[in-house]
């Protein structure tokens, strides 16, 4: 089989997911091209986190499939190196100091010596503007925003080629949010990563997205390039972008 020239890096095909009798995703079709940044927007509880967890292999779809470079995703794909995931609540291991959290993959999966892993962790902390003094603190001693940055440092430390960001800037001050956005852009533009992000923050979405897709009631109701979002002609998108409470 000859690969098609513009094959998506990651693709959801008719993905559906239910929890109990609640249908959360109802046939999602979505794709992101290599080296591009896709942002998924949508209201709370619409299934955005579920959508990217399925793509990362953390949840199994009930119907449809996820394809990576055209191949159906193998079970346990989350274990693959090359994936970086920033969780909505940072999901730091509270039994480990911050630097060991950030260097976790290097220490435990790659078998790097502690000294080298620590140096890499400090380097990653610097990239997300986390002060080196935080390295030996426990995650619960950090503010929410600092935890988020530590989670981001952990996601990017091993130079992954696919990155998932679940609300990377939520709960951050605008300056830090801007730093995180710039970092995501750098990962994608300079290092050629493919990124899938979720956000509620339209300013952030405009900064980091090549494409924007809106998830509503279990389906992708609109998608387009980042600059089309203001003239989508779709009432739900207009409502989301303008922050009005009525469509």
């Amino acid at each position: 089989m000859t690969p098609k020239p513009a094959q998506p890096r990651l693709e959801w095909r008719g993905v559906s997911k239910r929890f109990g009798d609640k249908l959360v995703l109802d046939g999602v079709d979505l794709a992101v091209d290599p080296g591009r940044s896709l942002v998924v927007i949508g209201g709370s509880g619409q299934g955005k986190s579920v959508l990217i967890k399925i793509a990362a292999g953390l949840l199994r779809a009930d119907g449809g499939e996820v394809r990576l470079d055209g191949q159906p995703l193998a079970p346990g794909a989350a274990h693959a190196p090359g994936y970086g995931f920033l969780f909505q609540g940072a999901a730091l291991f509270d039994s480990l100091p911050v630097w060991e959290n950030i260097a976790f993959r290097l220490l435990h999966a790659d078998g790097l010596p502690r000294r080298a892993a620590r140096a890499r962790a400090l380097d990653a902390m610097d990239r997300v503007r986390l002060p080196a003094s935080a390295a030996d603190q426990r995650p619960n001693e950090l503010s929410g925003g600092m935890q988020k940055r530590a989670g981001l440092a952990r996601a990017i430390i091993a130079d992954p080629d696919i990155l998932f960001f679940d609300e990377p800037t939520t709960g951050l001050d605008p300056v830090t949010g801007g730093v995180i956005d710039a970092l995501i852009v750098e990962q994608v533009r300079r290092l050629g990563c493919t990124a899938v992000s979720i956000t509620h923050d339209m300013a952030s979405a405009r900064r980091i997205a090549d494409r924007i897709a809106m998830l509503h009631a279990g389906r992708i109701v609109w998608q387009g390039s980042a600059d089309e979002v203001d003239r989508s002609g779709h009432p739900l998108v207009d409502q989301f972008v303008s922050g009005r409470s009525e469509p």
Binding site: K53, A56, G57, L58, A78, H79, A80, P81, Y83, G84, F85, F87, Q88, G89, A91, L92, F93, D94, F104, R105, H108, A109, R154, A155
Partner: protein, 256 residues
Amino acid sequence: MNPLAALGRATLGAARRTGAVTLFGARGLLSAFTRPFFPGQTARQMLVIGFRSLPVVGLTAVFTGAALALNIHTGGGRLNAEQVMPQIVALGIVRELGPVLAALMLAGRVSAAIAAEIGAMRATEQIDALATLSTDPYRYLVAPRLAAAILSLPLLTAVADILGIAGGWLVATATLDFDGRLYIRNTLDFLEPWDVISGLLKAAVFGLIVALMGCWHGFHAKGGARGVGRAATFAVVSAAVLIFAADYLLTGVFTA
């Protein structure tokens, strides 16, 4: 509802759960004995599960041994057989009460703690995070706890055996006019290696039960803080019940 259908459904549900727990435990055990290992995690769990349980297990054993001595002395008196009290106390402790009491204390202390810790990790997506960091949660979380409990509980039981017999000795020499040296000689002459070993084997199985129930209920906790609390309760209750059931089965096997 048709009672027969309800019974059938309950039976099927129980069978399915038993199968799932067995698979979970097998996967955890398999990871405990194959590479990559997490020796640091296992050592830490040995400390938490084994070493820190010493005071509570030791105290329980001393008091139980003392009470047992008094009861058997009274009962033995009715048959004019007070002098066999040391032997019966020793047998009761090493074959039965040492392993069971140590295991029950661990069920309360450790099953609940494991379930709460792993349940909280589930609720805060830390278990998902492990998977995205190329680390198998069974290896990193389940295997070290199973291994630590299986190794720790026989050691704790050995301590409980000694302290339980010491409790009996204390009562016997302080209040019942037994000769201290003779008490010990009688005990040692009477006990056979298998009495002690069968108790330690039981303890290893109980250790598996304690850790497995904690890990299983923690891993499958849902629904935030309430779910974590529920997982801890279920872990203790199911571990305790399974310990008694396993005790009966193993005793049957060992005395056959």
